[in-house]
């Protein structure tokens, strides 16, 4: 089922604040093998000028992915998440995320297209503090791959991935 193109251009009201915990930053940093002290030790982070432990650059995905459920889990959109791979990702940072932040996400669907039997959706999430100060903006393009047997993209005995979107 193709994605509903009427979602393109739609925006959602800001999400409830996501409270960034020190332990969540530590857990994320550990999971990606980032062992530098500023991700783990508040004193070390403060010595470098951060108010508390600082998050690695891709940490905002934790916050924006949770927020984007309001789009992708909407039955009206028609997304089958098991067929979704990640196409593109971009972050533009005003400042890094730090422990203690209460972050609010405002989602917009910038684009929905269909090509070669695959559906593409680009979302933008503006992440701010509760007071509205910008922190980071994330763009994410997801690819819903064509259904089994329903696409000429599939090559015999194997898979031909879409030209973009493979993670």
């Amino acid at each position: 089922m193709p994605l509903d193109p009427s979602f393109a251009g739609r925006s959602w009201p800001p999400t409830e604040p996501y409270l960034v915990g020190r332990e969540k930053i530590r857990e994320f940093a550990l999971a990606i093998g980032a062992h530098d002290a500023e991700y783990h030790d508040p004193a070390a982070a403060r010595a470098l000028g951060y108010p508390d432990v600082v998050a690695p650059p891709t940490f905002p995905t934790v916050v924006t992915m949770a927020a984007s459920r309001q789009i992708i889990a909407d039955p009206g959109l028609g997304m089958d998440y098991s067929r979704v791979v990640h196409g593109d990702q971009k972050f533009r940072y005003t400042r890094p995320v730090v422990a203690g932040d209460a972050l609010v996400c405002a989602n917009t669907v910038e684009d929905i297209t269909q090509r070669g039997g695959h559906d593409f959706i680009t979302t933008r999430t503006d992440v701010t503090t509760e007071a509205g100060e910008p922190v980071v903006t994330a763009w994410s393009k997801l690819v819903q791959r064509g259904e089994e047997g329903g696409s000429s993209e599939r090559s015999e005995g194997g898979v031909r991935m879409p030209t973009e979107g493979s993670a």
Partner: protein, 131 residues
């Protein structure tokens, strides 16, 4: 900062994907079930694209010298990173070259990430401001 991000290798195993799934909240089945990944036409379990991006982010922030040095960071996931269920898993090699230093002091780094000799990212760029 030097004028190139020297090649470095990151090993990725199934255990890393499980840990990343938990830490990130991305529990998409294609990152932990061969059965379900195959069902949607993938070669088997593949790494989270955001895990690959996170490893690149590590390389970039270390090279730049600060966690908050990166002002913009973008990638296209051009190929999947299959992660076999073995002790060795697979390797991702990351390198980069400075493409541009702007008048206002921003450095644009072009990044290459490969797995089994194939590029897994395209258009991968980090823009860095020195502290």
């Amino acid at each position: 900062m030097t004028d190139a991000l020297e090649p470095q290798t990151f090993r990725v195993t199934r255990a890393d994907l499980v840990r990343y799934a938990g830490a990130s909240g991305d529990f998409n089945v294609i990152h932990w079930s061969d059965r379900l990944a195959s069902k949607v036409g993938l070669p088997g379990v593949i790494a989270h694209g955001m895990y690959t991006m996170a490893l690149v982010g590590r390389a970039v922030t270390t090279w730049a010298g600060a966690a908050d040095a990166v002002v913009e960071f973008s990638v296209r996931f051009s190929r999947p990173v299959p992660v076999p269920d073995t002790d060795e898993g697979t390797d991702i090699e990351v390198s980069g070259v400075v493409k541009e230093v702007t008048d206002d002091g921003l450095t644009r780094l072009g990044i290459t990430a490969t797995c089994q000799g194939e590029k897994v990212l395209s258009l991968a760029t980090a823009t860095i401001r020195k502290r």
